[in-house]
C-alpha cells in the first residue's frame, strides 16, 4: 500500500519537474504555478506514504537506503518549497526537482530491499542516519541553487540573454542561497557522521586500523570525501575568498560525490550493508 502511495508521489514529482522545466524554457508562469501545486500534492502523498510505512513496520522508516533517500527527498521538497516562497523564485522547482528525481528514480527498482544490518537498528543509529539525511536534503538544494548561479553568471558575463536570463533571480540572491543551504546542511551532516564514527569506535574492532575500517566500508569512505569537499567550500567562504562561481562549482562537485556516495551505499556491501 505505502509503495503505491509512494509511486503516486514520485509520479507527481516527475510531472512537476517536467512542468517546471517547461515554465523555465517557455517562460510560462501558469506552468510554474501548476508545477508548484503538483509538488505540494506530491509532498502530501509522500508524507502519507511515510506514515503508512511507519505504521506497517512499527519502526521509523529511515533504516534502509531506499527509506533514507525517501526521507532526503521529503525534507528537500519541503525546504525547496519554503525557499520558493521565501525568496519568490518561481523557477527554483526547475532546478531542485530534477536533482531530487536523480535521487528518487532509483527507488521503485531494486533499492527497496537493501536494509541496514540488524544491530544498527538502535536509537543511536536512528539519530546518526536522521541527521545525515536532513543534511543531505539541504545539500541537494545547495546543488540546485549553485547550478542556477553558474547559468545566470554565464549569461551576464557573456552579455547575451539566454532563455533563462529573465526567469532566474539575481546573482547575489543565488549566492546567498547556496550559502544558506550549505550552512544548514553541513552541521547536520557533520554531527551525523561524527555520531557514526563514535559508534564505529565503540564497536570492538581489535587490530584494525582506521584505514582498513574505511577500506572495508565504501559508504563511509565516500561520505568522508563528500564531507571534505563541503568542508573545503565552507572554509573557503569563511575566509572570504570563495564566493560566487568558485563556491558554486564546489557545490556542484559536492553533489556529484553525494550521488557517488549513495551509489556506493547501494552497490557495495560494507559494514553498513548486509
Amino acid at each position: 500500500m505505502n509503495a503505491v502511495v509512494f509511486d503516486v508521489a514520485l509520479t507527481a514529482y516527475i510531472v512537476a519537474a517536467a512542468a517546471a522545466l517547461g515554465s523555465l524554457f517557455g517562460r510560462r508562469d501558469d506552468l510554474a504555478r501548476f508545477a508548484r501545486l503538483l509538488t505540494v500534492a506530491g509532498w502530501a502523498c509522500h508524507t502519507g506514504a511515510i506514515i503508512l510505512r511507519w505504521v506497517d513496520l512499527r519502526r521509523a522508516p529511515v533504516l534502509t537506503l531506499a527509506e533514507g533517500v525517501s526521507v532526503v527527498i521529503w525534507v528537500a521538497v519541503l525546504f525547496g518549497l519554503w525557499i520558493e516562497y521565501r525568496y519568490g523564485i518561481t523557477t527554483f522547482g526547475a532546478f531542485f526537482l530534477p536533482a531530487i528525481l536523480a535521487l528518487g528514480l532509483g527507488l521503485p527498482t531494486g533499492l527497496r530491499g537493501l536494509a541496514l544490518e540488524p544491530q544498527s537498528q538502535s536509537g543511536w543509529a536512528l539519530v546518526h542516519v536522521g541527521l545525515i539525511l536532513v543534511g543531505l536534503a539541504a545539500l541537494v538544494l545547495n546543488f540546485g541553487s549553485a547550478l542556477m548561479y553558474v547559468l545566470q553568471e554565464r549569461q551576464i558575463k557573456a552579455k547575451r540573454r539566454g532563455a533563462f536570463y529573465y526567469g532566474l533571480p539575481a546573482l547575489e540572491t543565488l549566492d546567498h542561497l547556496t550559502l544558506v543551504t550549505l550552512t544548514v546542511g553541513f552541521p547536520f551532516l557533520t554531527v551525523g557522521l561524527v555520531l557514526g564514527i563514535l559508534r564505529a569506535w565503540g564497536v570492538p574492532q581489535a587490530g584494525r586500523s582506521w584505514a582498513s575500517l574505511l577500506a572495508g566500508d565504501p559508504l563511509a569512505l565516500f561520505s568522508l570525501v563528500m564531507w571534505l569537499v563541503y568542508a573545503a567550500t565552507l572554509s573557503g567562504r569563511a575566509v572570504g575568498r570563495w564566493r560566487g562561481r568558485r563556491a558554486a562549482y564546489f557545490a556542484i562537485a559536492g553533489f556529484c560525490v553525494l550521488l557517488a556516495t549513495l551509489g556506493a551505499g547501494a552497490f557495495f556491501h560494507g559494514r553498513h550493508g548486509s
Binding site: I156, R161, A170, L171, E172, G240, R241, R243, R245
Partner: protein
C-alpha cells in the same frame, strides 16, 4: 451604430516631427476647437488627443469625413497652417477599425517606444478635457472606458512594459540582476559625463544608494556631489574607494583605460570577493574589457548596454504580439456589446408602452368593480402582466437576434412602426 465611430489624425507613423509639433495645441485652444466643432453639428461626440507623437480626433458622426475636415481645418487655422498641406498626412478609421485603433493607442501598442506608459495618461487627460467641454456622449464614454480597461489588461497580462529600453535604465536593470535589491549598495561615479550622471540618478531612484563622485577637477566633483546628494572624493583616491562600493560608473574623457585588470584584482581581494559591477559609459573605454573575465567582476560598456536595449526591445515586440491578440478579442466583445446596446432603447420603450396600456386597462376595470376584494385585484394584475410578457417575448427575441446578426436597424424600424413607438422615447446612444 459602431459605424458612426471614427478616428482621424496623424502620428509618428505618418507625419514628420515638424508637422506634429506645429499642430500641437495647448489646452485652452483645444477647448475652443472642441466646442466649435461639436457645436457646428457635424458630429455628436468629440475628443482630441494631442501629444508630441500624435494628434488625433475621436468622435461619433454620421459622415466622418465632414467631422474630420471641420476639426482639422479649425486646428490648422489656430496654428496658421494650411489644411490642404496637412490633408494627405491624415488617416481615417471608422467602425471596428476605429475601436481597434483607440484600444491600440491606449495600450501603447501604437507608440514609438512600444509599451511606454505615458500614453495612457495622455488619453485619459484628453478624455477628461472633452468631458469638461461636454462634448462626450454615451458612445465615446463606452469606447474610452473600455480602452482604459484594455490598456490595463495589456499591461498586466503581458510584459510589454517590463524591460528597460534606455541605456541608463538597462544599467539599472543589470545591477538588479547582479545584486537583487539595490538598497544599501553604494555607487562610485568617476568623471562628469552626462550619461554617467543619469545612470547614477536612476540607480539612486531604486533605493538608498550613497554616491561617491571623483573627478580630475576637484570643483566639478564637488558640484556634482552636491547635485546628487553624494560625497566628493579626490581623483587619486578612487582606487581605494572602489574597495568599498558595489557599482562603479566611469565616464571620463581619458584616452587610455584608467582601471586595469590588476587594479580590479587587488580591489576584489581587499573586498573579500564581494561582486563589483562596472558601468563603463566612456568612449574610449575607461575600464579594461578583460575585467569582465574576473570572478565576481562584471563590466558592461556602452555597446554592451545598447545590445541589452536592443534585446529588450525585441522582448517588447514579442510581448506586443500577445497584446495585439488580446486587443482584437476586446474589439470583438465591444462590438457585440454595442449591438446589444443598439436594440436596448427599443426594447425598453416597447416594454414601457405595453406596461402603460396594461396599467390603464387594469385601473379602468377596477373602477367598474368597486366591491373587488384583494384576491381579485391580485388576479387581475397577474393576468395582465402575463399577457404583456407573452406579447413582449416575440419582438424582444427578434430584436436581440437581429442585433447579433447585424441587421437590427430594419427590425427596430419595423417594430417601432408596428407598435407606434415615438422616436423621442429612444433615449440610448444616438445612432
Amino acid at each position: 451604430m459602431i459605424h458612426t465611430v471614427f478616428v482621424a489624425g496623424l502620428s509618428h507613423r505618418t507625419a514628420p516631427i515638424d508637422v506634429r509639433e506645429q499642430l500641437a495645441l495647448e489646452e485652452d485652444k483645444l477647448r475652443e476647437v472642441l466646442r466649435d466643432v461639436a457645436g457646428g453639428g457635424v458630429c455628436s461626440e468629440l475628443m482630441i488627443l494631442s501629444t508630441c507623437n500624435r494628434v488625433e480626433v475621436y468622435g461619433v458622426a454620421e459622415v466622418p469625413g465632414e467631422a474630420r475636415g471641420a476639426a482639422f481645418r479649425r486646428m490648422t487655422a489656430q496654428r496658421g497652417m494650411n489644411f490642404e498641406v496637412l490633408e494627405p498626412l491624415l488617416y481615417t478609421k471608422t467602425g471596428a477599425d476605429a475601436v481597434l485603433h483607440a484600444f491600440r493607442v491606449a495600450a501603447s501598442l501604437d507608440s514609438m517606444v512600444l509599451g511606454e506608459p505615458q500614453i495612457l495618461g495622455q488619453v485619459k487627460d484628453a478624455f477628461a478635457l472633452a468631458q469638461s467641454c461636454r462634448v462626450v456622449g454615451p458612445m465615446l464614454h463606452a469606447l474610452m472606458s473600455q480602452a482604459f480597461a484594455v490598456a490595463k489588461r495589456v499591461r498586466t497580462e503581458t510584459e510589454i512594459g517590463r524591460f528597460a529600453v534606455s541605456v541608463s535604465f538597462a544599467a539599472v536593470e543589470l545591477a538588479r540582476k547582479i545584486f537583487g535589491t539595490l538598497d544599501g549598495k553604494t555607487v562610485l561615479l568617476i568623471g562628469a559625463g552626462e550619461m554617467g550622471e543619469l545612470a547614477a540618478r536612476h540607480l539612486q531612484d531604486q533605493g538608498t544608494l550613497p554616491v561617491y563622485v571623483a573627478n580630475r577637477t576637484w570643483g566639478r566633483a564637488q558640484d556634482l556631489a552636491r547635485d546628487l546628494a553624494g560625497t566628493a572624493v579626490r581623483y587619486e583616491d578612487f582606487p581605494s574607494v572602489m574597495a568599498e562600493v558595489d557599482i562603479v560608473i566611469t565616464s571620463t574623457a581619458a584616452p587610455e583605460p584608467i582601471i586595469s585588470v590588476a587594479d580590479v584584482l587587488a580591489v576584489l581581494r581587499a573586498r573579500h570577493e564581494r561582486p563589483l559591477f562596472f558601468i563603463d559609459i566612456a568612449v574610449p573605454r575607461n575600464v579594461e574589457p578583460a575585467v569582465n573575465d574576473l570572478d565576481n567582476a562584471f563590466c558592461y560598456d556602452v555597446d554592451d548596454l545598447r545590445s541589452v536595449v536592443e534585446s529588450n526591445l525585441r522582448e517588447r515586440q514579442r510581448e506586443a504580439q500577445r497584446g495585439e491578440v488580446l486587443v482584437q478579442g476586446e474589439v470583438r466583445k465591444f462590438a457585440e456589446r454595442l449591438r446589444d446596446l443598439e436594440v436596448v432603447p427599443t426594447i425598453v420603450s416597447l416594454r414601457e408602452k405595453l406596461e402603460a396600456i396594461r396599467r390603464g386597462e387594469v385601473a379602468r376595470v377596477l373602477g367598474r368593480l368597486p366591491g373587488a376584494d384583494e384576491a381579485t385585484k391580485q388576479a387581475l394584475e397577474a393576468l395582465s402582466q402575463a399577457i404583456v410578457n407573452k406579447v413582449l417575448h416575440g419582438p424582444t427575441v427578434k430584436l436581440r437576434d437581429s442585433s447579433r446578426a447585424g441587421h437590427a436597424r430594419r427590425w427596430i424600424e419595423v417594430i417601432s412602426e408596428v407598435f407606434g413607438l415615438g422616436t423621442k422615447d429612444r433615449t440610448g446612444p444616438p445612432s
